[in-house]
Amino acid sequence: MAPVSLVSLGKAFGSIEAVRDIDLEIADNEFVVLVGPSGCGKSTTLRMIAGLETISRGELRIGETVVNHLSPGERDIAMVFQNYALYPHMNVAQNIAFGLRHRNLSRAEIKAAVLDAARLLDIEALLDRRPKALSGGQRQRVAMGRAIVRRPKVFLFDEPLSNLDAKLRAQMRIEIKRLHQRVPTTTIFVTHDQVEAMTMADRVVVMNNGVIEQVGTPLDVYNKPATRFVAEFIGSPSMNFFDGTLEAQGEDLVFRIGNGRALPVPRARGSAYSKHFGKRLTLGLRPEALSVSDASDFTIEVETKVVEPLGVETIVYFDLAGHPASVRAAPNRAPRAGETVPLSFDMTFMHLIDPEDGSVIPY
């Protein structure tokens, strides 16, 4: 229950800069998810907050206190590790109680706190068991119990769900969310899974190559990605990208894919895009901005390559002007692989990306 500030935080391992220039203000009780591909520096950032890595540059504040030089134990944080890191030689109750040893609590008070946490996580029946005798999901809960029992200022999670099977992962996602609602605490959650990030976060922090690419609400980063990296990383299947040029056609702007069809740019974007007129740019369109139909005036014929029926929808993969791309289709109207079908483009969802620096041109 404290805000957390990261000010120009950086970490170097020898000459390798793992993380740099991290600026982030996390509000009291906010649930923030750090997401990015493996090796982008999420864990390093989290471990600097925990005090498990020294901070090479910048300042870290928890509440009003600068904690750069405090040990993990002095920071009043709790952490759930990817492998849970339960103490193997202690039973569940002892595991949960371990962090209360320096609280000057009586035996009865400790017992009550442990029971409280166990009840919250539905693991009362397991209190006498050793970690070896628990399933993955149960270990996960015990690790959370160990964190929650101390009522810390900040919860840190480092990919806690990645060792669970898909079904349990979805379930734990919801439970962690619910726990956060019942015990509001500032939470920093690290994952490489953009679905976890989107579904759990109040705010998503997208990282790449040791820097923050974008910070925003899940819908912000989905609908208004700041960079091509974010546009590509968030969302599954990934956004489609087509290289081409921005051209004038009478009063209006069009985007010409390769040397082929010109797609009309919505009038509303005209003023934002007018500076980039004539440039080589990349068009970004999510699979749901395309549709398999000839309803609109500007359709393009493509040959489908692979069709993935997912039940609720069917993903159709194809190539367009040398770019692999995909479109979401209704299952009852999905084409077969190898068919030639007309595609409609809803350009109101378009993004234009400057290929020089990968930035999305704001509109």
């Binding site: 498990l52 993990p72 103490y87 962090g99």
Partner: protein
């Protein structure tokens, strides 16, 4: 099913009854023969010899319990047993503590990428490959009370009083223990180093986040995680130390008086100096019994389930 596969399968099932007609113990026969010939037979023979009047000089032997009585009523036996207990207990504790300290030091050094950790490990290990006799000779030179004695030489340089390491019965046992611990530490270090390396480092991180200072992490994480290794190590050191006589033989010869004569050395002397094969056999059976009882005691403390 394709024909060749079906044939192969039916051929396999056809051979199964044949295979099962071989009794299961037949498969154990080779290993039982080897163990029997090289381990069990000598023990049984020693047991048999203990009930004879056999001597090393040969001659007809007849069965009697007189040798056994003579050995067990030897007035020196209590001294020797207490020497053995002190020598063994001090060696186990000393090697365990020193081995753990060096192992912790090496692991810590490696974690901080200090240079020379491999060299340190190798140097410590070098002591271990020294034969027992050579170990005794090395330490008798170090402890020597002549003007060339290394340790006393250093003490003189520092203008400290010299110590009668080997000639004073009160110091001789300590000297023997030092020599034995010096040699055995390497073994403990390797066992405990391996055990330390296999402790999940995130346990220490979790404990640090849980607010445990360094000594608590050692007490609540390291020691419980090393429990099995320490117990196995204790069994091995105990048995090895009980059987050690070569180093003592070279260092003190069991003296002064009987101050450093342990059971294994006593058995050796009984056979090879008094030619009393029957008495020596009885003593070695006693040694075996002590080892077995101690090993069983340690096993009682062994963690039952994998932790």
């Amino acid at each position: 099913m394709p024909k060749p596969i079906a044939q192969a399968l039916s051929r396999r099932t056809a051979t199964t009854p044949e295979a099962s007609s071989i009794p299961y113990w037949a498969w154990l026969l080779p290993v039982m023969l080897v163990i029997g010939a090289f381990y069990i037979y000598p023990i049984i023979d020693a047991l048999r010899l203990a009930f004879t009047d056999a001597t090393l000089t040969g001659g007809a032997e007849s069965y009697t319990v007189r040798s056994l009585q003579r050995v067990l009523s030897n007035p020196a036996l209590p001294t020797i047993l207490s020497n053995t207990a002190i020598f063994t207990a001090a060696s186990v504790v000393g090697q365990q503590l020193l081995g753990l300290s060096v192992a912790l030091l090496v692991v810590r050094g490696e974690r901080h990428h200090l240079p020379g950790m491999l060299v340190l490990r190798t140097i410590v290990l070098a002591a271990w490959v020294v034969p027992g006799i050579a170990n005794g000779v090395i330490w008798s030179m170090l402890f020597s009370e002549s003007p060339f004695g290394a340790i006393n030489g250093v003490l003189r340089l520092l203008e400290l009083p010299t110590v009668a390491w080997l000639s004073n019965p009160a110091n001789a046992m300590l000297s023997a223990i030092i020599a034995n611990v010096w040699q055995g530490t390497a073994f403990s270090m390797i066992v405990l180093y391996a055990a330390l390396k296999s402790v999940d480092p995130s346990l220490y991180e979790a404990a640090a986040v849980d607010g445990a200072p360094a000594w608590e992490r050692f007490w609540f994480i390291t020691l419980p995680q090393l429990k099995a290794a320490i117990l196995v190590n204790s069994i091995l050191i105990t048995i090895q130390t009980l059987n050690t006589f070569d180093a003592i033989l070279a260092l003190t010869g069991g003296g002064p008086g009987r101050a450093t004569e342990v059971l294994s050395l006593f058995a050796y002397n009984t056979v090879f100096y008094q030619f009393d094969l029957a008495g020596g056999s009885a003593l070695s059976i006693l040694l075996l019994l002590i080892s077995l009882v101690l090993a069983a005691l340690y096993m009682l403390f062994m963690p039952k389930r994998d932790m």
